[in-house]
Structure formats: structure tokens, C-alpha cells
């Protein structure tokens, strides 16, 4: 049998990867309120092969559910760095995107992707379970086409992310 090229291996890996994504169970903000309905009987995200998981070391997806304040950002970065590659970040709700209604708050960061790379954003406050499910499907497409490369960007631009992190965390 011919040897497979690196690209072919990666394609197959991505195809398999997108079918079993585990989401870390970390409710960073109020958007976590729409996750229980998404997980349980009515919307049931397990049918997409997704499941909540407790430890950062076995999880693939980090959901930033809403606003991130500076105290949580420190923990989120730790959790993100503990997760193994490949890992994906979904910014959830307007607050992760641009601060949302907390635009003038001294405690809430305004742009998630300055501190950790986000692969996908869901707009709205708060996004409905349908939007969350669609986002997961979009993420699968991105993984399949190899465009969900946040973890690679984090390694490549580490200096940029670290500088921004230091600026808020001190």
C-alpha cells in the first residue's frame, strides 16, 4: 500500500476529530444559563457527538460564555493552556465579542481574541440554544476544512497574546 501523505493523514484526522468534541464544563459567565437546555433533553447536543466534560486535559472546546472579567480571565488562560491540542475556543454572546452592555465596566475585558484566539463567535445576548447548535455545526465545518487553527495561532503569536495578557493581569 502506498504511504499516505501528511495532508491525507491530517484530512482523515480532522474528519474524525469533528465527530467527537468534548466541551469543558466551565461556566465563565451568564451565557452558561443556555447550556443546560442545550445539553439536556429538549435540544440534546449529544446527537452531534458533543458532550460536556469536567477536566481541561481531556476537553476540546472551551466555551467563553459571555463576559469575562479580569479575575476569570486569569483562570481561563490557565484552563486554555492546560488543554491539549487541538483545541477550539467559541466566544459566546456579545460580551465576549466587544464587551456588550458592559462596555464601560472596569472589570470586564472587551475583546476576547486579544487574550486567547477565538475560532468562532456567537452573537446575541443571550444566544439561543439553536444558535449554539448551529455554532457547533459551523465549528465542525471549520475543523473539517482545517480553518479552525486558533491553537496554531496561539503558538505562532504567543508574544502578542502574552503581552496583551500581561497588560490586564499585571
Amino acid at each position: 500500500m502506498e504511504k499516505m501523505t501528511q495532508d491525507q493523514v491530517r484530512t482523515i484526522a480532522n474528519m474524525l476529530r469533528k465527530r467527537s468534541l468534548w466541551m469543558i464544563h466551565y461556566c465563565t459567565g451568564c451565557g452558561a444559563m443556555e447550556l443546560p437546555p442545550t445539553m439536556t433533553s429538549r435540544y440534546d447536543m449529544s446527537r452531534l457527538g458533543l458532550a460536556p466534560f469536567v477536566t481541561s486535559r481531556q476537553a476540546d472546546i472551551l466555551l467563553i460564555t459571555g463576559y469575562l472579567n479580569v479575575k476569570t480571565l486569569r483562570r481561563v488562560i490557565t484552563v486554555y493552556e492546560q488543554m491539549l491540542d487541538p483545541k477550539y475556543v467559541i466566544g459566546f454572546g456579545s460580551c465576549a465579542l466587544n464587551g456588550g452592555v458592559y462596555w464601560d465596566s472596569y472589570a470586564v475585558i472587551k475583546q476576547l481574541d486579544r487574550y486567547i484566539p477565538a475560532d468562532l463567535y456567537i452573537a446575541g445576548c443571550m444566544p439561543r440554544p439553536e444558535a449554539i447548535i448551529t455554532a457547533f455545526q459551523d465549528l465542525m465545518d471549520l475543523i473539517d476544512s482545517g480553518k479552525a487553527d486558533g491553537y496554531k495561532r496561539y503558538k505562532r503569536d504567543l508574544a502578542y497574546y502574552k503581552e496583551n495578557q500581561r497588560k490586564v493581569l499585571g
Binding site: Y26, T28, E34, V101
Partner: protein
């Protein structure tokens, strides 16, 4: 060598109610010291509200307590109405009552799911989160949002109910009543539930009063204190109900009190729908909200949330923006005064269900 060791429960922990951390000190697996570490959800609401007009604050306030946002809207609206001296229309009072009680039903079913999940029974959480969702559908009909409604506002409610909504509420009440039989069979009559919770995390009557408990903790200890009865707001003054109490003050009693409160809420919804005037205005005549309309003064408005007394202390200086708003969440006292004391002596495995049985809601005290 030290005998005890420290352990962080949270913020990233499935057994913790929200983004919150408890630092516990253990000897073996018995807790000898517990300390709450809040602030992970701090968004500076009280500061932000000082910089916004009264009407703009409507978008902020529901976000103070995520599982039950309507209590914030009601308390805020009541504070503003009190300062302005406005009496809201009869129909608005009943609509508020129905919305608040429906939110309480949604919150209590959500709470049941989380409580059962911390005891290891995930069936009930699958059921109750699903059933809660039908209540959110009803909210969706009146305001277009599932979680943050911004429906109750100073002067009454934002718009009239859509046609046939009352009937759909009654259908939902009927549905939940049927489902509660199943809930009882799988959970509240379950022997394992009794073994795990009887005699756990006791807050006696004297302790509850001394520590300043409100809501289910106080009712489970035998004090029938409830803002709905003691200082009636909305249409609670016109309805006929009794506050449920139990005497033991343990984890089991608190769970059963919440179960009884669910019955009470369903009953109140039915009464309110029956007694509600079928026609009439739903909002009092209000002046232009962008001008300085709220006269100078101070007031304290309180409502009964599913966790206890929820209050807004509002100071106005007639500039169009509130001078100071202080929010009282029931969980503040329940966590930092009560939970830190009752966790001592518990086993490690019981920490998370004790926290849920006290119904700690972190966004309420982080604000």
C-alpha cells in the same frame, strides 16, 4: 507535618453552582474550614447603573441574577415607582404576578435538576431542564427573549399579553402538575435522596434568625417569613395563599420547601389568571424617561425571589440617572454567613449538594 490540607472547589468544577470558588480545608475528608472566594462574575453593575439613565438601566438589571431575572426588574420598577409615587394599573399588577411566578417555576425546576445532579441522579435534570424550557417558550411569546425579558418596567409592564397567552399558561401549569407526580416518584420519594439529605447541613430556627437567613432556609427552619405575604407587592395582596414551613432546617427540609413552593407558585398562577381583569391599561402614564423625572429621595424595594429577599436600595438626586443603587441578593448572606458555617463538619462529597441546597447564586453577590 500538617494534618489538614487545602482544596479549591471551583471555579472550574461541575459541582459548583456557577463561576465561583470555595476554598476548603480538609482533615481526612471532613471539612474543617470553608471560605467563599467571589468576584469571578463581577461586572460592576452598581457602578454602571450610576452612569446610565433609568430607562437604559432596564437592559442591565435582569443580568444581575441569571436563573431568575424577573425579580430584578420587579424590584427596580418598584423602587422607581415608589420614588415617583406611581400606582400601577390593576391588570399590570396581575401580569407581573403571573410573570414573576412563572419565573419562579422556571427557577425551581432548574434548581431541582441541579440538586438531583449533584446527588448523582441525572434523569431528573434531563426532565426538569426540558420542562423549564416550555416556561421559557411562554416568555418568548410575551417579549421575544427566553432568558432576559425586560418585560416588567417602571409603570407596569411593557406591552399587553398576546391573545390566548393566559390559556397557554394554564396548559403549562396543568402539564407541570402532571409531571410533578413523576418527579415525586423518581426523586422526592426516593430513599437515596432521603438518606443523602436527612439531617444534613442543619440550620436551626435560632441560627437562621441570628445569621439573617431569608427564603427557603428560614421557612425550612420554621419561620413563615415571605415578602409576598408580609409586604405584598404586585397582586399578591389579592390572592389567597399560605406560606409553607417545615421544622427541621436540614437539607431535606429545604428541598421539600422548594417542592411545596412550586405547588404554591402553580396555584398562584391559576388564581391570578382567574382574577385578572380581562381588559384595561397595562402601563401607567409615564413622563419622558430621558428627562430628570425621578424625584430626589431614597427607598428600599424588596421582592421574594426563589432564594429569599431580593432588594434594591435606590437613591435618586433628580438628575435623570440614579445616584446610587445597592442590590441585595439573598445569596450574599446565605453564602458568606451561612454556607461557610454549615459546611464545617461535612464530608467532601456533600459540599456541592450542600451549596446547591442553600441555592447559592454567584451573580447575585458578585454583581
Amino acid at each position: 507535618m500538617s494534618k489538614s490540607y487545602e482544596l479549591f472547589i471551583g471555579p472550574n468544577h461541575p459541582g459548583i453552582p456557577g463561576n465561583f470558588s470555595v476554598k476548603i480545608e480538609l482533615e481526612g475528608d471532613t471539612v474543617v474550614k470553608a471560605k467563599g472566594d467571589p468576584g469571578y462574575l463581577h461586572r460592576a453593575f452598581e457602578k454602571a447603573m450610576e452612569g446610565r439613565y433609568y430607562i437604559q438601566n432596564l437592559a442591565l438589571i435582569p443580568r444581575i441574577c441569571v436563573p431568575e431575572p424577573d425579580i430584578n426588574e420587579a424590584a427596580y420598577a418598584m423602587a422607581v415607582e415608589d420614588l415617583m409615587g406611581i400606582e400601577i394599573p390593576e391588570r399590570a399588577k396581575y401580569i407581573r404576578t403571573i410573570v414573576l411566578e412563572l419565573a419562579r417555576v422556571a427557577n425551581l425546576t432548574f434548581w431541582m435538576g441541579s440538586f438531583a445532579a449533584t446527588l448523582g441522579l441525572y434523569t431528573l435534570s434531563q426532565w426538569s431542564f426540558g420542562d423549564r424550557d416550555y416556561a421559557l417558550d411562554l416568555f418568548n411569546e410575551i417579549c421575544g427573549a427566553r432568558v432576559y425579558h425586560m418585560f416588567i418596567w417602571p409603570g407596569g409592564v411593557r406591552r399587553d399579553l398576546p391573545p390566548g397567552w393566559e390559556d397557554r399558561v394554564l396548559d403549562y401549569v396543568k402539564y407541570i402538575k402532571e409531571r410533578l407526580v413523576d418527579y415525586d416518584n423518581i426523586f422526592f420519594k426516593n430513599v437515596m435522596f432521603k438518606y443523602r439529605t436527612k439531617g444534613m447541613a442543619v440550620v436551626t430556627k435560632e441560627q437562621a434568625i441570628e445569621w439573617g437567613a431569608t427564603g427557603p432556609i428560614l421557612k425550612a427552619a420554621g419561620v413563615a417569613q415571605d415578602v409576598r405575604k408580609d409586604d405584598p407587592y404586585a397582586a399578591y395582596g389579592y390572592l389567597d395563599f399560605e406560606i409553607p414551613t417545615l421544622t427541621d432546617g436540614d437539607s431535606w427540609s429545604r428541598a421539600m420547601i422548594r417542592r411545596m413552593e412550586l405547588d404554591l407558585s402553580l396555584d398562584l398562577i391559576e388564581q391570578a389568571v382567574k382574577k385578572m381583569p380581562k381588559k384595561g391599561p397595562v402601563c401607567a402614564k409615564m413622563p419622558n424617561p430621558l428627562k430628570g423625572i425621578v424625584p430626589a429621595g431614597e427607598t428600599y424595594a424588596k421582592v421574594e425571589s426563589a432564594r429569599g429577599e431580593h432588594g434594591f436600595y435606590m437613591v435618586s438626586d433628580n438628575t435623570g440617572k440614579p445616584y446610587r443603587v445597592a442590590v441585595r441578593g439573598a445569596s450574599h448572606t446565605h453564602m458568606f454567613t451561612i454556607a461557610e458555617k454549615v459546611l464545617i463538619g461535612q464530608r467532601l462529597a456533600d459540599v456541592s449538594h450542600t451549596l446547591v441546597s442553600l441555592d447559592i447564586c454567584p451573580p447575585e453577590f458578585d454583581r
